[in-house]
Subunit: 421 residues, 2 copies
């Protein structure tokens, strides 16, 4: 008998009909002889509606009370889901984050899981019950207050439960068939990836792939949880996100997938004196604004001037604050000027096979050159190559590279509407 | 420094604006130098909407899950209320039933409070915080499950908190100015009662007065909690419901108030053999249907026939089941027939002063006789006289008696719309 953890997002439980459909799916898994633990999000737009209510009451809601408020959303969906399963003749019990032993730190709105003590869940499983757990929420042992985990919280809840209960697999239900080699809306011949390592998945997620949250993948990786990302609309196999053991030989394609990202801007600090410590000085100023700097590139200095340029990318929304901070300290740092460019696109090529294959960069440069796409920045990791292009070239670049690295499928993928969080 | 418990019902917190208004009221009480604990119901129709959702999922929702579902309603209102207070610069913290130590038995949907251990509330009060508690809900220590208290649950929560914390008064906010000598919609010259004993209040509530739930009054009486029923729309003094100590002399009017009730039906068992044990036999059959029998009257038997009639009243909705049960056992009991009358009205005259005053019944009979209103049944307690009349005479009876017992005010009362639960 296997233990399977399943996660259903808000769009999968948006109304009574959807809840009954999900209940049926859970019962099927149970009927196939598995123990089942389910993490469920709040129904449809409930969380946004509650946030809205809070802002009608006060522009700056107290974080503790906001968590108390938001945590009511999953109570509703989980109780309804448990009822629906019960009405099909199977035993089901719902548990809040605190009843499920989801212990977090005290950071309201973005709490991190510090321990999972699923005593009551085990009892319920031993009694033959299907277990439904509120996603997104936990509680802090010191303050005894309810907390929420922030964006992607329900995915993290599911993975944490799978780890704590030693589940065989953690199924993440979504409205797409799995992880694709590239967004099928951009590259119609994108292929569903059968298996991907969590390391690759992390790189893809960090590079803009939207299906899984980085935090949940990180947790799965750290605790050796296998994820199965699949559609809640059909019974197709989805994508397995696996954790090969150290030294384990997994046959891996050179390139597993491509991700693109249009949400970043580029800032270039022009004419920086090429002396030690200048980069450190600049990024200390940037760090003070809490900006999430992504790629950093420093040009070789022109020997004649003794000056260099430093470029970096960051979320568009954070650019203004950083520009302001740098301007304020221009005299002290001694650079000549600042350039701001929000018309860039980022593309990442990810594949664990890169480790043992040379020539990937060369092939990438060649392919983009043939397509007359100019590369503005490059950065690499062991299993990833990222490039920055003009924003309006990035989709073309993805199509060109998807073909060049033999990722194209024989047929076009079926694309669903929505994003299914 | 006084400790005041305040209860606000769903109509007082129906939207963001109402919540801010209630928050202001709470802050005023705090600013006047009091410690404040608030019990709050779910917003407006939330509870009904959640019930509706449950019934869309399954016609017979599992009681445990239904309580889990319904308990989310107060989480929303209490968190919003705490936020609103916080935004006014006062410290406030919200607590669920289980966080507040509201321990109940395990009867989902109609749980009874067995203990209140408000450790966290005391801590919060000691730290200078205003305490907001979810009404209507508790938890069971054995099953560790969330429970709800059923109808009037938030009133009961408030009273139980007042008792456990030794509050000076428990203020029940509603949309009327207090308890009136009679429903002002029927008797425009009804007067607001300044002080009433809990004993009288219980009789009035049992006789159909709608402002307070019997259960909450019973709890207040048992634990010596003083209630103050008042309007959330103005600052007028409302009605104090007090608990005079044994032997304490309180000057009491002969009649404190009148209540009417049109929700009952009368069943008459005709031609019952007048031998010992027959009444017991009949009410054993009635009891099996769980009917809530109210008044019972047995006529003196006609010596010639050796037969008597037994009449009783009960909620209209329960009449059919009782008639069926009695019919099934007609042969065994040996009565001649059954009469069912759902056009009756009940009126109760309540006053602790009746104990020491004779002649109240005589005055009542006289007044109704002069008004040509026929009395069909009579039952009395130490501090109450109830009569049954035709349904369409009961309001006339109330007006006649209101005048006869000098309850009429000089001016007509202001009547608000709604009933404000």
């Amino acid at each position: 008998m296997s233990l399977i953890v399943q996660k259903f997002g808000g769009s999968s439980v948006a109304d009574a009909e959807s809840i009954k459909r999900v209940a049926k799916r859970i019962v099927e898994t149970r009927r196939a002889g598995n123990d089942v633990v389910v993490a469920v999000s709040a129904m449809g737009d409930t969380t946004d509606e509650l946030l809205d209510l809070a802002h009608q009451v006060t522009p700056l809601p107290e974080p503790r009370e906001l968590d108390m408020l938001l945590s009511s959303g999953e109570r509703i969906s989980m109780a309804l889901l448990a009822m629906a399963i019960k009405s099909m003749g199977y035993d089901a019990r719902s548990f809040t984050g605190s009843q499920a032993g989801m212990i977090t730190d005290a950071q309201h709105g973005a709490a991190r899981i510090v321990d999972v003590t699923p005593v009551r869940l085990r009892e319920a499983l031993d009694e033959g019950s299907i277990v439904i757990v509120a996603g997104f929420q936990g509680f802090n042992r010191d303050t005894r207050d309810i907390t929420t985990l922030g964006r992607g919280g329900s995915d993290t809840t599911a993975v944490a439960l799978a780890a704590a209960l030693g589940a065989d697999v953690c199924e993440i239900y979504t409205d797409v068939d799995g992880i694709f080699t590239m967004d099928p809306r951009v590259v119609p011949r994108a292929r569903k990836i059968q298996t991907i390592t969590s390391e690759e998945m992390l790189e893809l997620a960090a590079a803009g792939a939207k299906v899984l949250y980085i935090r949940a993948v990180e947790y799965a990786r750290r605790h050796g949880v296998t994820l199965h990302v699949r559609s809640s609309f059909n019974n197709n196999e989805g994508t397995l996100v696996i954790n090969p053991k150290e030294g384990e030989q997994v046959e891996q394609p050179i390139v597993t997938g491509i991700a693109t990202d249009l949400s970043e801007a580029k800032i270039t600090v022009v004419g920086v004196p090429d002396v030690p410590g200048k980069a450190a000085q600049i990024f200390k100023i940037v760090a003070k604004t809490n900006a999430n700097v992504d790629m950093i590139v420093q040009n070789v200095s022109a020997a004649a001037t003794g000056l260099t340029d430093i470029s970096f990318t960051l979320p568009k929304s954070e650019a203004q604050a950083v520009l302001k901070a740098l301007q304020a300290d221009q005299g002290e740092v001694g650079f000549l000027g600042l350039q701001h460019d929000d018309q860039i696109g980022k593309l990442a090529l990810v594949g664990a096979g890169m480790r043992t294959n040379t020539g990937v960069s060369a092939k990438l440069f060649e392919a983009l050159h043939l397509a007359s796409i100019n590369i503005e920045m490059i950065s690499t990791s062991e299993i990833r190559i990222s490039v920055v292009t003009r924003a309006d070239s990035v989709n073309d670049a993805a199509r060109v590279l998807h073909a060049a690295f033999d990722l194209d499928a024989d047929e076009e993928a079926i694309v669903y509407a929505g994003t299914g969080r």
